[in-house]
């Protein structure tokens, strides 16, 4: 890996812990000396973090109630 583009293409895998140890070292060394790539790394980490924490749908009570009723009606017809 010689160019920033090569490093950036591996950052998503790097965040997922999917990079071989020797390549990890290369990436870490590069991130220490290359502010644009370090910023790209921080940005992607932030994206992963806020996707994890930022998407929540509380199941509406009405949807849960209708699901329960639907399943009680239809599953009872099935036998295990």
């Amino acid at each position: 890996m010689k160019k920033c583009k090569d490093f950036c293409e591996r950052l998503s895998d790097y965040i997922d812990g999917q990079i071989e140890e020797n390549i990890c070292t290369l990436i870490e060394e590069h991130l220490e000396v290359c502010p644009p790539c370090a910023l790209m790394h921080e940005s992607l980490k932030t994206v992963v973090e806020i996707c994890k924490k930022g998407i929540s749908y509380d199941l509406p009570e009405e949807v849960a109630r209708e699901l329960r009723t639907f399943l009680r009606t239809h599953c009872r017809k099935e036998e295990h």
């Binding site: 910023l39 806020i50 996707c51 930022g54 998407i55 699901l67 295990h80």
Partner: protein, 203 residues
């Protein structure tokens, strides 16, 4: 607390209440996944019912080779795909959508986005922007982002759920994450330039 596999044994012995325990445990996550896949609350509700009914009917065939949760998400994903194929085939025509989102990884990172505090990124307005960024992705990227980054499945599990390969999942995650980064960087760049700061602080 009983494991999923122990509960399944009870269901297969005729204990319907045990099945309701599984439904209560997973209904929120499955609903969220379906909402994101089909982007429609009413359709997601119908598919939620279809998913759990299919799971109940197919429980005997659940071999336990995967976890119950990955098996259930696979049923939900397939139900959503079949629905989209029938009702909204345009959502499955990926070429154009993918072309539109190509190149996001080459857009430089924005210092404004990274330096925005987490409580602002996760404010009501911030969450809406994350939703919009994910909803704007082609379905194949959106699905892996939800399964991996929101639901926390491993890459191997995601590949199993969407019946794809780990390299393909990695590639879609890479593209999807960069597209979200680009959308949010652009938004927070504008926020920091002044136009939207007040709205965010008030949300």
């Amino acid at each position: 607390m009983l494991s999923d596999n122990e509960i399944i044994i009870r269901v297969l012995d005729g204990d319907y209440d045990a099945f309701e325990t599984l439904v209560e445990k997973y209904q929120g996550r499955i609903y969220r996944h379906l909402r994101k896949m089909v982007r429609d609350q009413s359709e997601a509700q119908d598919l939620l019912q279809e998913t759990f009914l299919s799971a109940y009917k197919g429980l005997k065939g659940f071999a336990g080779n995967s976890s119950f949760s990955t098996w259930l998400f696979k049923i939900a994903s397939n139900a959503a795909l079949m629905f989209l194929r029938r009702q909204r085939p345009e959502m499955l025509q990926y070429d154009e959508q993918i072309r539109d989102s190509e190149g996001a990884e080459f857009v430089p990172a924005s210092p404004e986005f990274v330096s925005t505090p987490l409580d602002i990124l996760l404010s009501a307005e911030g969450r809406r922007k994350i939703e919009e960024a994910i909803d704007g992705l082609p379905l194949i990227y959106r699905t892996v982002i939800i399964l991996r980054d929101v639901e926390g499945f491993s890459l191997e599990e995601v590949a199993g759920i969407i019946e794809s390969s780990v390299p393909a999942v990695k590639s879609r995650l890479h593209r999807g994450r960069h597209s979200i980064r680009e959308a949010l960087s652009s938004y927070y760049g504008e926020v920091r330039s002044g136009g939207k700061r007040r709205a965010l602080q008030e949300s």
